[in-house]
């Protein structure tokens, strides 16, 4: 074989390996049983203040408008169903959206936190994504940290008059990436590297999941933009009703 042929072969093997081993590239839920008890409890405790704030905010909305109960429940169900639908893909593998960016932009980060934990419980029980002992860690990375970043970036983009679609793309993609980074660090804290400690371990987890998570973040960003465009076309009134268009 010539050098070029060898290189082509190598690249094709690497590509095949990546495409073959990423059939279930969902969001990065930490599985049941993965974390030790101390971490399960610690991450749960970290979530509490955010959830309490979201809860009180929801309570206020409910007091003003009883109808909000069914609307919010529908919103939760919507996030769940959207995250369970298969994203179209070239390789025939099946991957899912997280919907964190979309939820944060539509409902704000606090509401998304409370809806997020409900969605995560149902994902664990009905779809076997994530688990009960890792609920705290997953809630923090997917329902609190990711949406917070998404919402922040979206606000900044609006303030700076960045193109709306670019802003939505950045918000959704960054929310996804941030979730992936946080999850990697959560895994790294639980299993630090014997030689290099937490940072080296985080680098390993980031590296191992990069091939599935990086493309997924881009896809999530694109789809969120397309869904928002569709919503603006068809649902301008409804968006106003849930105070998206101020």
């Amino acid at each position: 074989m010539t050098k070029l042929q060898k290189r082509t072969l190598r690249i094709s093997i690497v590509l095949a390996a990546f495409l073959a081993v990423s059939p279930a590239a969902g969001a990065m839920h930490i599985m049941e049983g993965y974390l030790s008890p101390a971490f399960c409890i610690a991450w749960g405790v970290v979530c509490i203040p955010f959830l309490v704030k979201g809860f009180f905010e929801m309570k206020k909305v409910f007091a003003e408008n009883r109808k909000a109960v069914t609307i919010l429940a529908m919103a939760g169900a919507y996030i769940f169903v959207l995250s369970a639908l298969k994203i179209p893909s070239v390789t025939g593998s099946c991957s899912h959206m997280t919907g964190t960016g979309l939820a944060a932009i539509l409902f704000g980060p606090c509401t998304t936190g409370v809806l997020g934990i409900i969605v995560l419980i149902f994902q664990a029980v009905l779809l076997a994504h994530g688990g009960l002992t890792t609920l705290g860690a997953n809630t923090f990375s997917m329902a609190i940290a990711g949406p917070a970043i998404s919402y922040g970036i979206w606000l900044v983009c609006r303030k700076c008059n960045v193109n709306k679609r670019v802003g939505i793309f950045l918000a959704a993609a960054a929310g996804d990436l941030f979730t992936y980074c946080i999850t990697s660090f959560q895994l790294a804290f639980a299993y630090p590297d014997p030689n290099g400690g937490v940072l080296a371990s985080a680098a390993k987890f980031l590296g191992v999941f990069a091939p599935t998570q990086l493309p997924l973040a881009v896809v999530e960003g694109l789809l969120t933009v397309m869904i928002m465009v569709a919503l603006e076309n068809y649902a301008a009134q409804e968006l106003k009703a849930i105070r998206f268009e101020k």
Binding site: A73, P194, V208
Partner: protein, 252 residues
């Protein structure tokens, strides 16, 4: 969503829901606390037997769900087992020119333990979710005195999930019939259109359901009738036996 379907068919659905949740959660905590291969293997076997032999969940379905997390699991075990180093370290190492990939006895052991621990955790979770429909789980949570508003939201979300799934699958069928997935570009457009439409449908249905609830005297609390399912003596005895074996295996 298949899990919910099989949960309704399970033969151990008649067992007390709180009892099953207690068994699953206690098992989870014991497994991650002990972190021993022997305990993990026993839990996989016991929970598998309970789900498959007593609950009569089809083994094909069970196996498919057990295999679902394996990819993530293999990746993360790999990351635990292998580490980077500037100099050759550990029992096995491979030079990659810039640094060494190395694997020590200890980290390999940790990775193998992790693998079985996760399998055990997943099998305990499946024992619960393959035998307990989600609305019974919410009723168990109610006994823990979580805020009523939160539980009510959960109840409603659970019901609405199925309604929206129906709507989504109708939209998908309609899109497919019109060649909505003929190429990758079009299928992205289709996905986004379904996502957008689903949101509108969800809000409209949300309004309708609120009216329906009001018409039935909704005062901010859903009153649901529940079956009484007492824990039988032999079930409790079996549970006791199971936990004592788990603890004995840890001491062994």
């Amino acid at each position: 969503m298949q899990i919910d379907y099989y949960a309704y068919q399970s033969r151990i659905r008649g067992w007390n829901a709180a009892f099953k949740v207690l068994i699953a959660v206690a098992t989870l905590f014991l497994v991650i606390l002990f972190n021993r291969i022997l305990v993990s293997l026993f839990v996989v076997a016991a929970m598998g037997a309970l789900t498959l032999l007593v609950g009569r969940t089809p083994w094909r379905v069970y196996l498919r769900y057990m295999l679902a997390p394996v990819v993530f699991l293999l990746f993360s075990c790999l990351a635990v087992a292998v580490s980077f180093s500037g100099s050759p370290a550990g029992e096995w190492n491979v030079s990659v020119h810039f640094f060494y990939l190395c694997m020590g006895q200890e980290s390999l052991e940790a990775a193998v333990k992790l693998f079985f621990k996760v399998l055990a955790g997943v099998s305990a979770l499946y024992m619960m979710s393959f035998s307990t429909p989600a609305d019974e789980l919410v009723l168990v949570l109610e006994k823990l005195h979580l805020p009523g508003m939160f539980l009510e939201l959960m109840q409603l979300v659970y019901r609405y999930i199925f309604i929206l799934f129906d709507a989504a699958s109708q939209m998908q069928t309609a899109a497919k019939a019109r060649l909505g997935d003929c190429n990758i570009r079009q299928s992205f457009k289709t996905f986004a259109a379904i996502g957008g439409n689903l949101f509108v449908a969800a809000l409209k249905k949300g309004n309708t359901y609120y009216d329906a609830l009001l018409a039935r005297g909704y005062q901010g609390r859903l009153e649901l009738l529940t079956e009484e399912k007492p824990v039988r003596f032999w079930q409790a005895a079996l549970g006791g036996l199971y936990f004592s074996i788990v603890i004995l295996l840890n001491l062994a």
